[in-house]
């Protein structure tokens, strides 16, 4: 335990350094790449003076170091991510408004991916070279070779357009539905809080296809990881001894699965962080209105503060998730100690 607390303390000490790197990267990625937002805002027909005026207004006429200093100062003294070039709203508000939507999508999608993927991987390794294995591997091959946007469109075409089981991909709820009172910002949670069961059903109905798209697409990662680790574990001495002691097969697989737990949890953490930007295409396909969709939009418009804010928030979130991940892995496996 002594080693563990020491290791965690060391890990925490690293956080400020990492935060500074993320802040700088967020700035650098946007400001050192070519492209002039003033030109985008002014449009093709604007005169040079007009463009210069807009540049002055945005502050992009100043040299990069000066802009960096202003950005960092604003961040720490005013706790502000700046305002959007286009909507003139504070970036922080834009992000917090959309964050819960993406969070819901990512959590549900990952949950589906983990459950489906681990099930596939477990069947695959337990019934190695028999038909469940073949079936599972076929599923993995298919889902990982279809791009996520195409899978989304395919599901919309088949399940909405042909069969009619899913509603139209118009967002969180129907176009004519009144959204629930905003408490957490997450539609499903808010309908739960409002006890609006009809709307909850609608929300789940609308979430079905995007969640299934994400779940199917990312299930292959979990299926492959589970299969690899579990196959090894099922051949291990501890599993043989568990069987020799007369434990039931379910219990034996449980023993083996405990070895697969750590890599699966690690994958969950990594994908969770990555999906806040990575779900953007699925969000766009389903008009989800989440963080990723907003970020893509901002990038296309060269809305510098918005892109900076997005990179910063997702970067910090990633740091946080990785830290939690380390703590969870330590808690799950008594053997792990970062010496």
């Amino acid at each position: 335990m002594r080693y563990r607390t020491g290791a965690i303390a060391k890990r925490l000490l690293f956080i400020p350094v990492a935060v500074f790197i993320v802040i700088t990267l967020a700035f650098g990625l946007v400001n050192l790449t070519p492209g002039d937002p003033a030109l985008v805002i002014a449009g093709d027909l604007a005169a040079d003076e007009q463009v210069a005026e807009i540049r002055a207004e945005l502050g992009t006429d100043k040299p990069v170091p000066q802009r960096y200093a202003a950005y960092v100062r604003e961040l720490f003294t005013e706790r502000s991510l700046g305002t959007s070039f286009f909507t003139k709203r504070p970036i922080w508000d834009e992000i917090t408004q959309r964050f819960p939507d993406t969070l819901e999508l990512v959590v549900l999608g990952l949950l589906g991916a983990v459950l489906y993927g681990s099930l596939l991987g477990t069947l695959s390794s337990y019934f190695r070279r028999r038909w469940p294995d073949t079936l599972s591997r076929t599923s993995v091959t298919i889902t990982q070779s279809i791009p996520d946007f195409f899978m989304g469109l395919l599901l919309i075409y088949v399940i909405f357009y042909i069969i009619g089981w899913a509603p139209a991909p118009v967002g969180r709820i129907g176009l004519l539905d009144r959204p629930p009172d905003r408490v957490t910002g997450a539609v499903i949670l808010d309908t739960l809080i409002a006890r609006d069961w009809g709307l909850l059903k609608t929300a789940f109905h609308h979430a079905m296809l995007p969640v299934v798209t994400l779940a199917l697409f990312y299930s292959s990662h979990f299926a492959k990881t589970t299969r690899a680790v579990l196959s090894r574990a099922l051949n291990s001495d501890q599993v043989e001894f568990a069987r020799a002691c007369g434990l039931s097969e379910l219990r034996v697989v449980g023993y083996a699965f405990r070895e697969a737990r750590t890599p699966v949890v690690t994958y969950i953490g990594i994908l969770f962080a990555a999906l806040f930007g990575g779900a953007a295409i699925v969000e766009t396909v389903f008009a989800w209105g989440g963080l990723g969709q907003w970020a893509i939009d901002a990038m296309l418009k060269l809305d510098v503060p918005a892109i900076q804010g997005f990179i910063l928030v997702v970067g910090l979130l990633t740091l946080l998730v990785y830290l939690l991940l380390d703590l969870i892995v330590v808690a799950l496996d008594p053997r792990v100690s970062y010496e």
Binding site: R128, N235, S236, D237, Q238, E240, F241, A242, R243, A244, C245, G246, L247, S248, E249, R251, Y255, R258, E259, R261, L332, D333, P334, R335
Partner: protein, 351 residues
């Protein structure tokens, strides 16, 4: 052949003409080729042979845990009259752990790394529907005490990686014997342990078997261990039992040339170490004659190359799969000098 290698008392385990094959698309490995033996009540039988001779496959076939693609293709394994080979997985599961205790090679590998030891005891006891609520813990504590764990409470609370090698093997033995099985199968239980601890563990297994009148099959490649801990010995070669009999007789007066070679390979002070010549057949294709033909120093009988010898009685309760007769005086002087020393009673046991 079933009468061969029979114990003096009523037998608890009876293996007859057991055959195990590992079949893949490209090739078939004949791992066990007609093994027959029996173990009596309270008897400790040693199973010796070099790596790859089919010891492990025989043991796994007995407890019904052959790894794929291994399969029992013929023969029977009778435990108190019940043939385990054709049993449903569920019935077999109830026998494993409860009526046959298995002590594996590697104690660290055998324990679950992320479950507390107490949970592992609980799971084993529960799997057989034994132990009432609240009793399980005390049963586990008693058993840990019996295997010589100094602080059972602490061990129960802890994890496998906190134990030393010797302690881990004690815990494994406790788990294997917690349900008081009549038969214990120990597969090289001291491999990988320190020499001093090896002896303690073997003493412990023997004591636990003796006090409860358990029978034991002790698999080892160490002739010294057999000499010290077993009453009878089975010598395996290329998936067959080539010699069987009381330890003293087999070790002092081996009837099979392979046993002789095995004994000659035991280091002894002041003597040149003699290893067995040649290598084990691949077991992909079984030779028509004696499996030991290529390595045999005594091959003389015309049948040696064409007909596989079966076990026949060469002395009181002493069986060997040989065609030639030692009584006819076909022995090589050099080999016999080191293979059948007069002081063999004690020598092979002292390592």
């Amino acid at each position: 052949m079933t009468a061969a290698a029979a114990p003096a008392t009523a037998s608890l385990l009876e293996v007859s003409d057991l055959r195990v094959q590992f079949r893949s698309r490209r090739r078939t490995v004949h791992a066990v080729n007609g093994v027959s033996f029996a173990i009596g009540e309270g008897e400790t039988v040693g199973l010796v042979g070099e790596t790859g001779c089919g010891k492990s496959a025989t043991v796994r076939a007995i407890i019904g845990l052959l790894k794929s693609p291994g399969r029992v293709t013929a023969g029977a394994v009778r435990l108190e009259g019940t043939d385990l080979v054709g049993l449903q997985p569920r019935q077999l599961r109830q026998i494993r752990g409860a009526r046959i205790g298995f002590v594996p090679q590697n104690p660290f590998g055998a324990l679950n790394p992320v479950l507390r030891i107490e949970r592992q005891f609980r799971n084993v006891i529960r799997a057989h529907g034994r132990g009432r609520r609240g009793e399980i813990r005390s049963t586990a504590l008693d058993m840990l005490d019996a295997v010589g764990i100094a602080d059972p409470e602490r061990v129960l609370r802890g994890y496998a990686h906190e134990l030393s090698g010797g302690m881990a093997q004690r815990v494994v033995i406790a788990l294997a014997m917690i349900l008081n099985p009549r038969l214990v199968v120990a597969d090289e239980p001291t491999t990988g342990l320190d020499l001093t601890i090896q002896r303690q563990i073997l003493d412990l297994i023997r004591d636990l078997a003796e006090t409860e009148g358990r029978s034991m099959l002790l698999v080892t490649h160490d002739v010294g261990v057999v000499a010290q801990y077993c009453s009878r010995v089975l010598v395996m070669y290329a998936g067959q039992v080539v010699e069987a009999g009381p330890v003293r007789r087999v070790l002092t007066d081996p009837a099979h040339p392979y046993t002789e070679a095995l004994l000659a390979a035991v280091p002894r002070r002041g003597e040149r170490l003699v290893g067995a010549q040649g290598t084990v057949p691949t077991l992909l294709e079984l030779p028509p004659g004696c499996f030991y033909y290529d390595r045999c120093q005594y091959r003389s009988d015309p049948r040696c190359a064409t007909e596989a010898p079966s076990l026949r009685e060469v002395g009181p309760e002493h069986w060997a799969a040989v065609h030639y007769d030692k009584g006819a005086g076909i022995r090589l002087p050099a080999a016999s000098a080191s293979a059948a020393p007069s002081d063999a009673d004690s020598a092979p046991g002292d390592m």
